[in-house]
């Protein structure tokens, strides 16, 4: 009897430990563009993964990298709140901005704060740091990536007299003297 009671108490203790489960959030920040250009949309994605065993509550994401002097916010918000993120689940948030200036820019980390378990202080976490990326000017982007079909077409048209006119004159002369040989 005492043995069975001991086993039951042990099992209850094991289950009671479930109440102390903590949430742990990993924040991943990603730039979705291959090329970042001045005055063109730049999409940034934030993925929050709760890899802990508990529910994360009062989750707040904030990214202060995109100051209004350097970027114009097109869609989404740079500060977002979620009331809870369950254990083992994830949420995604996207923001679209437009760089106002060309040049190198340092994309720093975003910050997430959340309550990992009841009665515990707020926990802070940081995303990965993307680092320095080049923002191309519109001029440079057009130089490297635009198709320039019209420019090539006009160039081909203007090259034609330099090549076709002498070639035509040569063939006219050649035909004239070939005919004379055939006549004789």
């Amino acid at each position: 009897m005492k043995l069975y009671l001991g086993i039951v108490l042990l099992l209850l203790t094991a289950f009671a430990k479930g109440d102390d489960e903590k949430a742990k959030i990993i924040l991943v920040k990603r730039i979705l563009n291959d090329i970042i250009t001045e005055r063109n949309d730049l999409a940034i994605e934030y993925n929050l993964y709760n890899i802990g065993d508990g529910v994360a509550t009062d989750v707040e994401l904030a990214d202060s990298s995109f100051h209004e002097s350097d970027f114009e916010l097109i869609s989404g918000m740079t500060s977002v709140k979620w009331s809870r993120i369950n254990a083992g689940s994830n949420v995604t948030h996207a923001v679209v901005v437009q760089p106002l200036r060309a040049g190198d820019f340092n994309f720093t980390s975003a910050v997430v704060q959340y309550v990992s378990e009841k009665g515990v202080d707020v926990t802070f976490g940081y995303s990965n740091e993307i680092g320095e990326q080049e923002i191309l000017s519109l001029k440079e982007y057009n130089r490297l990536h635009a198709s320039h079909m019209m420019e090539w077409g006009l160039f081909a048209l203007w090259c034609m007299p330099s090549i076709d006119v002498p070639l035509l004159l040569y063939y006219l002369s050649k035909r004239k003297y070939s005919k004379k040989v055939k006549k004789n």
Binding site: K139, E140, N142, R143, L144, H148, E151, L154, F155, W158, C159, S162, I163, P166, L167, L169, Y170, S173, K174, K176, Y177, S178, K180, V181, K183, N184
Partner: protein, 185 residues
Amino acid sequence: MAPKSSNFSKEEELLLQDFGRDLTRKSSLIFYMHAIVVSALPLWLFNRIHQMELTEHAILFAIGTLVSTYLVASAYKNNKFQLKHKVAQKRSDGVAAEINSQMAENDSKKVSKKEKDERILWRKNEVAEAESMQLAVVYSNSVFLILLILLSFFFFKSYSPMINYIISMIGASGITALLSTSSKN
């Protein structure tokens, strides 16, 4: 180099003029006009595609165009010299036929064989001169433009526009001139 001498006979001087590298004033003018046009054409590409302002880079463009003009004109001269003899051989029969038919039309005036041969030689030289000039221009222009496009838009695409222009223009015109100096026997 043989010193200039007035001891050459008229025939020898004619032969030297016909088969030498020197160009007449008219031929030089034609060559330089073609060369300057073909050297100026890439400015459009560098202005519109590489986004180089004409006013901002005026001095660079002027120097590049002049250097390229000189090199391309040299290529014309060398190519024309190599092609002239081949063209003269091919047109020999046609020119002889032309002179014979002209003389047959004017059969009231008897012409000596020597005079007829001289006329054929003169006319052959004239035709070969014109055709070899035209062929030299076509060939050199094609080589120059192809090289320029390859250098500027493939090999050195990611270089800064100014460096790209210098390397492409000097490279394309230099290689065109260099290729023209090779002799094929």
